[in-house]
């Protein structure tokens, strides 16, 4: 984990225009993610943690619109505002540099396509060149091998399977040079000409199986040919994670990946994610409502409430020394054996006509007059520990 920042969200405003009114889902959200870290985004249902993730990929569903702010991605030292990029650019980022996995694995997979098809889709989309090169390389190697004289017929037959005809080779090279090539696409539909596709698909499938093995899925060849409804919850989630990681993204956004799973499976998946992090070194943004998971998995944590990031700091810092009253209340609510069962009084405010000042003011035990009318600034109360609260604006750096 370095200090270099990978992604920055600056003053992000997101509104949903519904029949009942305008929902201010995100209100000047500020967040930065460092290279290689695991950052947790924690909050209750409806606090905006999921849409924050979706905003990073600019995938906000229909009645929603981003009304302000920036989503900055660090590309070789330069900051690019994803909100202003063309669709083609974004499509290159999605699944390739930033990947997202979702809460319900069974519904995140298309029920009419096999596992292999869906993971393969991501690979085909982003790593086509690599796959084509591999096929061509295999063909060349096979040709070389065939020159040997000490091969049995069976071995020869096996090697010949990998050899490409000239026409097929030309098609693949064409794809490498012109990824969007129409002729190649046409050829892939015509029965005789599309044999090059078969070779490609085999290579992609090999890659899929490799991914599934990495996910610690037993018997990956068989699983690759299964349909989503045949998989168990844990298995499906591993497939989804494989789908997310297959193009080796720099960052993975995990939106409550274990919420819908049994507790035992949850532990397996969490362990898997930790191991994958060690192997791949991906930056992870872990969205959850479970403080326990945060403590287990994350380096830093952002606490969200009613569309704001209210606290952002190191995990140990937050647990040891929570600054924002909401965070404090949250931590007190974690059930402890022998202690009284606590909860936070009051309700989350409606985001259609949110309160003018701090959105937590009606439930905050430390609320001042200022809090009702004036929104606090997101400032660093200490080094590396930012809070959105009037109690700390005096201590601004």
């Amino acid at each position: 984990m370095s200090e270099e920042r990978f992604l920055r969200i600056k003053d992000l405003d997101l509104r949903f225009y519904t029949y009942e009114g305008v929902v201010e889902a995100l209100d000047k959200v500020n967040l930065h993610i460092k290279n290689g870290e695991t950052i947790g985004v924690v909050g209750e249902t409806g606090c905006g943690k999921s849409v924050t993730g979706l905003s990073e990929l600019v995938l906000i569903p229909s009645p929603g619109r981003i009304e302000g702010g920036k989503v900055l991605l660090n590309r070789d030292g330069k900051w690019v505002n994803l909100l202003r990029q063309k669709d083609a650019f974004l499509r290159n980022v999605r699944g390739n540099e930033i990947s997202m996995i979702f809460q319900d694995p069974k519904s995140a997979l298309n029920p009419v396509y096999t596992v292999e098809n869906q993971i393969g889709e991501a690979i085909t989309h982003h790593r086509m060149e690599e796959m084509c090169k591999r096929v061509i390389d295999n063909s060349e190697k096979a040709k070389e091998e065939l020159k040997r004289t000490d091969l049995s017929d069976k071995e020869k037959a096996k090697l010949r399977k990998n050899v490409l005809s000239n026409r097929e080779k030309r098609f693949l090279e064409r794809i490498i040079d012109y990824p969007e090539d129409t002729i190649a696409r046409w050829a892939s539909r015509i029965p005789v000409l599309n044999r090059f596709k078969k070779r490609l698909n085999k290579e992609v499938k090999k890659e899929v199986v490799r991914m599934l093995k990495d996910m610690r899925i037993p018997d990956p060849e068989r699983v690759a040919e299964m349909y989503p409804h045949e998989l168990s919850g844990g298995m499906a989630q591993r497939v989804v994670i494989a789908m997310g990681l297959c193009c080796n993204p720099s960052m993975l956004i995990a939106d409550e990946p274990t919420t819908n799973l049994d507790v035992t499976v949850q532990l397996q998946i969490l362990t898997l994610i930790k191991e994958l992090k060690k192997e791949y070194g991906t930056t992870i943004q872990y969205i959850t409502h479970d403080m326990g998971v945060v403590a287990e998995m994350c380096d830093r944590v952002a606490v969200m409430y009613a569309g704001n990031v209210v606290e952002l700091a190191d995990v140990f810092e937050v647990f040891k020394n929570p600054l924002h009253p909401y965070t404090r209340a949250l931590l007190e609510c974690i059930p402890r054996p022998g202690a009284e069962f606590k909860s936070i009084e009051g309700f989350v405010p409606s985001l259609i006509s949110p309160p003018e000042g701090c959105r937590f003011n009606d439930r905050c035990p430390f609320a001042m007059d200022k809090c009702v009318s004036v929104k606090p600034e997101f400032v660093a109360a200490k080094a590396g520990h930012q809070v959105l609260c009037h109690l700390y604006t005096g201590e601004a750096k």
Binding site: S107, V112, Y227
Partner: protein
């Protein structure tokens, strides 16, 4: 359960339905008094005075279950559906007119499916845009216009006015050619369009196509409306699912997402109403044939109904039920085959 079990189960379930349908028709006929029912079996005038004998001959005074047995036997084994008021056996009358009806339906069905599915998918993918509004208007028109009226209006414009597409099955010259005593015409399938090609008489082929345009248009346009509507809503539902967002998050283009992911999921529920489409076709064919004087089974049944001539109507109804049930069965099987969730159990 696997695919084979599913298919078997479906077939087995269809049989009692068919049986029940026959029973239902039989029960409905039973409401008529014996003398009336006897007249259904009359084949010429002289028999009217000897209705009692006819009643005994056909077991019409026996207990109900005996009657049902004989009725069903006559239906299935002897193919005796009774005689119409003109003295013709109903079964033969229907068989004679069958090819006409088949021909119309044969051309209309693929058009309906093509329009319905394509327009439905496009409509759902581009909600509230121009193509969506246009197809919704089409759908509403399709379900609001009376088919007979639409047919009449088209006849008025395209035949009376423009002389392009005449009613009836073939024109006068073609009729003469086919019906001539020493004509070279040979019937192969019974369908004028196909047989014209086989016979090498291209002009008859063109002529019969010309005659088919209007009835097929009326049938297809109005029946595709339902399919457009259903496909559209199932497309919208598919697009609201999580896997669409996941696909987008993989970096796929909008077109790929719609065509690859959403469409197949949308088409599956749309298939379930293909059965309904068959019902619409059967009904539509009855009306369309009458309007355009095509001489098919539908027209025969409709004319009989007007004259309160019972046997042909009964025969037509039973036939429709059989066609309907079987086509539903086929659709069910196809559906199970396409949806992997059912195919693999």
């Amino acid at each position: 359960m696997g695919l084979r079990t599913y298919i078997l189960r479906r077939i087995i379930l269809a049989i009692p339905v068919l049986f029940g349908a026959a029973l239902f028709v039989f029960a409905v006929i039973q409401f008529l008094p014996v003398t009336l029912r006897a007249t259904l079996y009359v084949t010429n005038e002289k028999q009217i005075s000897r209705l009692d004998e006819i009643a005994k001959l056909y077991h019409l005074t026996d207990p109900v279950y005996v009657q049902f047995y004989y009725w069903l036997r006559a239906l299935l084994l002897e193919r005796n559906l009774g005689t119409d008021s003109l003295g013709q056996p109903v079964y033969e009358a229907i068989m004679k007119r069958m090819p006409t009806t088949v021909e119309i339906v044969m051309y209309a069905s693929p058009i309906i499916v093509a329009i319905g599915l394509t327009l439905g998918v496009l409509s759902g993918a581009n909600k509230d845009k121009l193509i969506d509004q246009a197809s919704r208007v089409l759908a509403i028109m399709g379900t609001s216009l009376p088919s007979f009226w639409f047919g009449i209006v088209l006849l008025s414009i395209f035949y009376a006015g423009l002389q392009w597409f005449p009613p009836q099955r073939v024109g006068i010259e073609a009729q003469k050619f086919i019906g001539m005593a020493n004509s070279s015409w040979r019937w192969y399938t019974g369908l004028v369009t196909i047989d014209a090609l086989i016979n090498g008489q291209l002009w008859i082929f063109v002529d019969s196509i010309r005659h088919l345009v209007l009835p097929v248009t009326v049938l297809s346009l109005l029946n595709s409306a339902v399919m457009v509507r259903v496909t559209r809503s199932s497309m919208l539902e598919a697009l609201s699912k999580d896997y669409i967002t996941a696909a987008k998050a993989k970096g796929l283009t909008r077109k790929e997402v719609i065509n690859k992911h959403a469409r197949r999921n949308a088409l599956i529920p749309a298939m379930t109403i293909s059965g309904l489409m068959v019902a619409g076709l059967l009904t539509g064919v009855t009306i369309t044939e009458t309007v355009f004087n095509m001489g098919g089974i539908g027209q025969y049944a409709a004319r009989s109904a007007t004259r309160i001539d019972i046997p042909p109507v009964i025969g037509y109804t039973i036939m429709s039920a059989v066609v309907f049930v079987i086509s539903n069965l086929i659709v069910d099987i196809l559906y199970a085959y396409i949806d992997p969730r059912i195919r693999l159990g």
